[in-house]
Amino acid sequence: MKSSRTFFQRLRSYYLLFTGGFACFLVALSVLEQEGMSRTWIGYLFMFATIVLYASIGVLSRTSNVLEYYVAGRRVPAMFNGMATAADWISAASFISLAGGLYLHGFDGLAYIMGWTGGYCLVALLIAPYLRKFSQYTIPDFLAARYGGGDGEGPGGRAVRILAVCATIIVSFTYVVAQIYAVGLIASRFTGVDFSVGIFLGLASILVCSFLGGMRAITWTQVAQYIIILVAFLMPAIWLSGKHTDNPIPQLAYGKLLPKLSAREYVLQNDPKEAEVRAIFRQRADELDARLRALPASWEAGRIELQRKLDRVKLRNASLLEIRNAERALIAYPKNADEATRSWSEARDQNLARAEPITPHATPYPGDAETSDIKRNNFLALVFCLMMGTAALPHILMRAYTTPSVHETRVSVFWTLFFILLIYLTIPALAVLVKYDIYSALVGSDYAHLPNWVSYWANVDKANPLFSISDINHDGVVQLAEITIDADVLVLATPEIAGLPYVVSGLVAAGGLAAALSTADGLLLAISNALSHDVYYKIVDRSASTQKRVTISKLLLLGVAFIAAYGASQKPGDILSLVGAAFSLAASALFPALVLAVFWKRANYQGAVAGMTTGFAVCLYYMLHTNPTLGGSVARQWFHIAPISAGIFGVPAGLLTMVTVSLLTPPPERQTGALVDYIRAPEL
């Protein structure tokens, strides 16, 4: 007891020292900025200082001991385990995209806040303490032992293990690609390197850390990363809050701002100039719609028109620029009628979306009675999917193994949610503060005097503008309908919107990087542990030495990391929707099996195998069936539930199948009953 106390105290002083050092670093940089250091160099310094920091923690805690490598020696005190889990949890999506999502969707976006916090109740009440009591290394370990009888080596245990490994890999891989994508995004934005170079820079720091020290290195790095995330997220929010409400605590202050925001929304909604801009968008959408209906003739006509234009420009010896532009227009024109259908309907939908009236921020489920009900049902479905998904994410559950006792695991889940809430209660506040700032300061200003950040962020990614603003109705004044903001840009641009020095922008970028890296670390470890421990050691080579197991795990980590980086460099979908898919899949495949493993002795391996496969299949089918980007169609939705909430069908399907099949097949062996009794028993 005494030694663990001193261990806790030692950790505390290390991290206090670290926080102090980090504060000094920030002060030093802001002084340097005053002295005229360039933005690029501030960006570089932040990137390299943090990456070197993570790498050195990784080097200091390098290990090849199995217990240390897989579960950090099971001696992480509850509070630090909570911090590390919080960093593990706060992904790029939470840090970068969530506030932006709330900005765009208002109340409906709060489903993410509720879902991602409520999930921890399920983790604590149903799963984590029992996993700790079981004391092995991975999630598939637990399922295999519970359903396989005895040591989990029977054919049933093996089948369950393989299924659990597959689920772990699919879920974690989707999630890790999103994280690495974010790493590339931030690195390229703040240091000006190429997107793929950014990815590999980030990857290098992930690898140094988890490659050398496994869970142990990751844990101590994540605690440091959490501190950076917290400082980076709170600082701009506190500043904005002080600016707009005279109360520096954003979580308390934005209540006062909400009615003001609603009043401003009302004014803008009834502004004739806004209506004019929206009418222009509607008209553009109608034109595109007309062309779409006249396909393929309209495609032919359009192409000929562009060709003629080019010829005309060439004939009258116009400037090179004009010729270039005409050529570009012709090149960008759809190659055939099919492509025209795709790109024009996309453009039509975009224009239609911009012609929509303002969504009131604080109103739940706006719209007429039917849309409103659909929105409510989707909100509920999403909340429950995210909750059950949280309780089934292998990289979070894995953390239950690292505390010294069952009691500490329960306390650690409490700390996890506590530290997550420090960020999550700020996110809705930040969304409201930034929205108020934009609605009251940017909207209504004139185009000749746009703030600097507008042109900076508008020029960051020409192909897929993260922020765009153009004078649609040519009146020289900014209208709200003339602005589009991508969810991913909001948090990164907040310091500049608030008028803070560039150091804070660098800090926020470092925070986003820390969020993405910490999550990616945990996920990569979850994947490589599943492969090395569950597939290699438990199935392929039972006699492998501990040294060999750790080496194999490290090699696999390297391989998986590179595949994930390759996946991310293909720039798939937007971050939030990728992560959402991972939650539904995790919930459908693993949640019923994990919960029934502890709470229902009669559950057997036949049930588990059937339940896991059915849940996963139903969830995947629904996603493919209804997600337009995956080749489905919106019209085929059941009860109008969006594909991101596919788990709302997957989980009950899995649960029902598992119960039915378990009841139809013989009960599990006596050993299993003993194991369940052991897991449930108190620690004496």
Partner: protein, 106 residues
């Protein structure tokens, strides 16, 4: 009291606590989302109630559920441990009594 009985009782209480807290969890999430439109008219400290619940209230309830769970379970675990210790001492005493019969009176 023997070990299996202590365990069974501990599990019974754990289950009851879990069920109770799960109910609180479900009610919070479901009510905050399902009745959001009805609650939007009320306001707390400037927030419409439904917005406050979804943005902060529900999450804080979840945090307190976790606190209650950790605290109650620690109590349950400790009670079980004391009972087990008492049972062990009782058994030991009984064994000791059986091994050394009382001295015959003179």
């Amino acid at each position: 009291m023997d070990k299996t009985l202590i365990r069974a009782r501990h599990w019974e209480r754990t289950r009851r606590l879990t069920a109770l807290l799960l109910l609180a969890w479900l009610a919070t999430g479901f009510c905050a989302a399902f009745f959001a439109r009805e609650l939007a008219g009320l306001s707390v400290f400037g927030w419409p109630l439904s917005f406050y619940l979804a943005a902060q209230g529900a999450s804080l309830v979840y945090l307190s559920i976790l606190a209650v769970y950790a605290w109650r379970m620690r109590k349950l675990d400790r009670a079980a441990a004391t009972q087990a210790a008492a049972a062990a001492t009782a058994t030991a005493a009984a064994t000791a009594a059986a091994v050394s019969p009382p001295e015959p009176r003179t």
